[in-house]
Point group: C2
Chain length 495, copies 2
């Protein structure tokens, strides 16, 4: 069990909540408390409300002084001007941890400078309290209970289907929560998420320090607008990236981006070149795109995505056009698509019809031998040592290929169906995927399946269930794999 001071922030046994009531649609505090209750939080909940006797079924207290014990954590969703007094009352009670959701701590009040941030920092220091925010969305922890039944959740709208070892620390509450509203899309759910807001007391670097040794964190995601403690950040990042990947998406750099950031968190934003140089030194994977952030993270998180040993891509396709496009994009994005050795080509040639191609891409067009596509050719490429990554185009559902719509039974009545086909499907599916995933591990060569059918197609789901990585089109994995290759190289050199 972690002894890091932030561990208790994410695993409270009791929580006081300021700012919730019983009228839906009126306050953000109510919404947040609903989320906590819905997440099957098993700790005690103490709503604090001046007038109400109960809030959402929980006994409410006029003041935190009246609460019969010292809560592990207080969450505050109140107008900023009352927050200093609430901080004092929490301090008097002995509360040590606060999540301060409210914003409005740095904007001008009329013409007057806003000193609320300084005030609450001082109060917190006086009482030995630590707090996240202001202007944050709180936290999400799917690991609060070892058995996985229940979460600590102040910010996800909907329950995450799974829990993962992906943890995100974000200077934007949105990036920490709204990337996961579609729990199927990137095929991974977040395990722990932290919205640090304006970082008046606890910052992103603190959480980096916590996730460094956190056993429930294998991959760390960051959304950064400004790094307040650059030296410490670099030192920590270097320590972490030799063991765990860190992926960052940076909101600063452009003129408009910096303008947006200034208004968002009051940071000054920064210079993209300086940021990039710093990031490069640390081994952190950087992306500018949210989809790439999700795609890279999902690959890093997959237990069946071994780090590639180089940048040489082998392409196996059942269609010429996608093969050419994958090859183009791969080269454009810094990967290598080597022509196979004569030895390997002659082996492949013997196994293929003369309409096929065997130079790389292997284009099996008109060859219906799916065992070649799914198992034999991938294994031959892995064994050859000539490639480091395999992309398979055309991992399409057998069922879809082997069935057809038959309105009013127009066709089936005239057709001899090979009756054994459907029965063998289930075996077949497992039969063609599992051996290749094992080989992928054995040879440390990641395999990416491309199925242009819907991401929710049963066959895509099946491959994912069996541990495979599937994309609907090839652009997305091809565009981001080089970054993973660079990280893999960094990691090898630093270990």
């Amino acid at each position: 069990m972690s002894t890091h001071f932030l561990h208790d922030f994410l695993t409270p046994k009791s929580i006081a909540v300021y700012g919730a009531n019983n009228t839906f649609g009126t306050t953000m505090g109510t919404m947040l408390l609903i989320r906590i209750i819905n997440s099957n939080f098993k700790g005690k909940i103490f709503p604090i409300h001046l007038k109400l006797d109960t809030v959402l079924g929980y006994k409410a207290y006029k003041s935190i002084a009246d609460v019969p014990e010292v809560p592990d954590l207080a969450m505050i969703v109140l107008p900023p001007k009352v927050v200093p007094q609430v901080f004092r009352e929490c301090g008097e009670k002995g509360v040590k941890r606060i999540i301060l959701i409210s914003g409005g701590f740095r904007e001008l009040i009329g013409d007057r400078k806003n000193t609320l941030t300084e005030e609450i920092i001082e109060i917190a220091n006086n009482y030995g309290m630590r707090f996240t925010g202001p202007n944050c969305l709180g936290a999400y922890n799917s690991w609060i209970y070892p058995n996985g039944e229940g979460r600590f959740n102040t910010m996800m709208w909907r329950e995450q289907l799974k829990r993962s070892k992906f943890s995100i620390v974000s200077q934007s509450g949105t990036l920490a929560s709204q990337l996961w509203l579609d729990s199927e899309y990137p095929d991974f759910n977040v395990g722990k998420a932290i919205s640090v807001g304006n970082e008046a007391n606890i910052d992103l670097v603190d959480f980096l320090d916590y996730f460094k040794d956190d056993e429930e964190t294998d991959v760390i995601g960051l959304y950064i607008e400004e790094i307040k403690r650059g030296k410490k950040f670099i030192q920590l990042a270097k320590e972490i990236t030799s063991k765990k990947p860190i992926i960052v998406i940076y909101g600063g750099g452009s003129q408009a981006g910096n303008r947006a950031i200034k208004s968002h968190t009051g940071s000054i934003g920064g210079n993209m070149k300086i940021f990039d140089a710093m990031i490069k030194e640390t081994g952190i994977i950087k992306t500018d795109y949210v989809e790439e952030f999700l795609d890279i993270s999902s690959m890093l998180l997959s237990p069946n995505f071994p780090y590639p040993k180089g940048k040489r891509v082998g392409i196996i396709t059942f269609a010429g056009g996608p093969g050419a496009l994958i090859a183009n994009n791969a080269e454009r994005k810094g990967l290598i698509v080597p022509e196979f050795s004569e030895t390997l080509q002659s082996k492949l040639k013997k196994m293929l019809p003369h309409t096929a191609s065997w130079t790389n891409p292997i284009d099996i067009t008109f060859d219906m031998n799916i065992f070649n596509l799914y198992i034999t050719f991938p294994k031959m490429l892995m064994k050859s040592g000539e490639i480091d990554i395999i992309i398979i185009y055309g991992a399409m559902g057998f069922r879809s290929m082997a069935t057809f719509e038959d309105q009013n039974n127009k066709i089936s009545q005239h057709l001899e169906l090979r009756e054994d086909m459907r029965d063998r499907m289930d075996d077949m599916e497992q039969m063609v995927i599992t051996p290749t995933i094992k080989n992928s591990q054995k040879y440390s060569v990641p395999v990416i399946y491309i199925n242009p059918q819907s991401y929710a197609d049963p066959w895509s789901k099946k491959i994912r269930e069996l541990g495979g990585i599937v994309f609907q089109f090839w652009d997305r994995p091809v565009n981001c794999i080089e970054k993973i290759c660079n990280y893999a190289e960094y990691r090898r050199k630093s270990n």
Copy 2:
């Protein structure tokens, strides 16, 4: 009605089919005939088979000579060596159009040069026949019957939900058919699709000529590996792009891409710089990525995506992080995110809480006034003349925001629900989208909604039903809008 010779290829009233039988899973010809039948083709079908009396319920003929009429079209899926003889028989019968699916017309046969292509070209010329292929997947035409009931389809696995005025001509059968397997994903379906294969007789340029004046074609998509008639292509493209957009995805250019192409269609591929220079001259929109191809096409095809008058983006967001990232990405991708004029800023400032931002992005965080987000601010930006495109982050379902999971009725029993909320939802939805779409047309400023919920989320669907353009994350529209802006400018100049 078009008098172009290719029109009849796509609208046959009768078709002879070589290579289909009654045993599912044995021949590609059977699969293709199943597709034709399933697409509710209303013409006559004449299977040609040496042994069978019926094929899929249709009376079969030993030879095309026995067919009681001259079919409009013959489709051939037979081993290449018998094709010349079949061509001759079709010629004798008086058939004028052939779709030649089979491949294997240019590869070495043992050590012998393959002259089959030359043979069939000569036969076709002798009889005045035209043919697509060899090595193609045929065609798809959702416009064959004016009332939309029925298709002519040899290549789509599944029925397309809608028919659109997007027509694609492709040197890869896959690109012409498999991009549409998930009929929801890019939110548009193809209207006409042609796989031209090896272009022995009819080429991509012929179809470009056909689509030029085709009233059922508003946007033309091309997948190109090699252009055989460059001069004619450029001349035609220039004529077309001043009226209809053409978007191309190019499979050649890289070393590996050219190697793949050589094996795919026997073309030599090409030099990317030369291709790009040629494309630039024509006003064609070029992309290297299949998702971008779909995204640009879907925007061009939307009746509610007016051509932007410039590259200035206005961002309205209910969250700071996405606002900063959209601004960054927009600038990175050649767009402009101007700071609003003082006049506009002061108007906006008055309508926003002091925690908000009004410089561009407009960040309404903590403002719950959805009418501002959806209607008022977009209109103010349009009227100002200061921006050309609007991106709205946070177009999230009211229902999702206004409802919550309530396991075992733990919460609802304690909560005063504002009863009127749910009833007003339906009105609300229409109320906030429709006026902005009208304004978008009026001011010729496209509006793009970003909803990080699933693409299949009811609210995303609703916006799309009402004619809006929705993406799940901002990367994709932001990455490709500049290309549309460039085309819009080209179009203005050439008209």
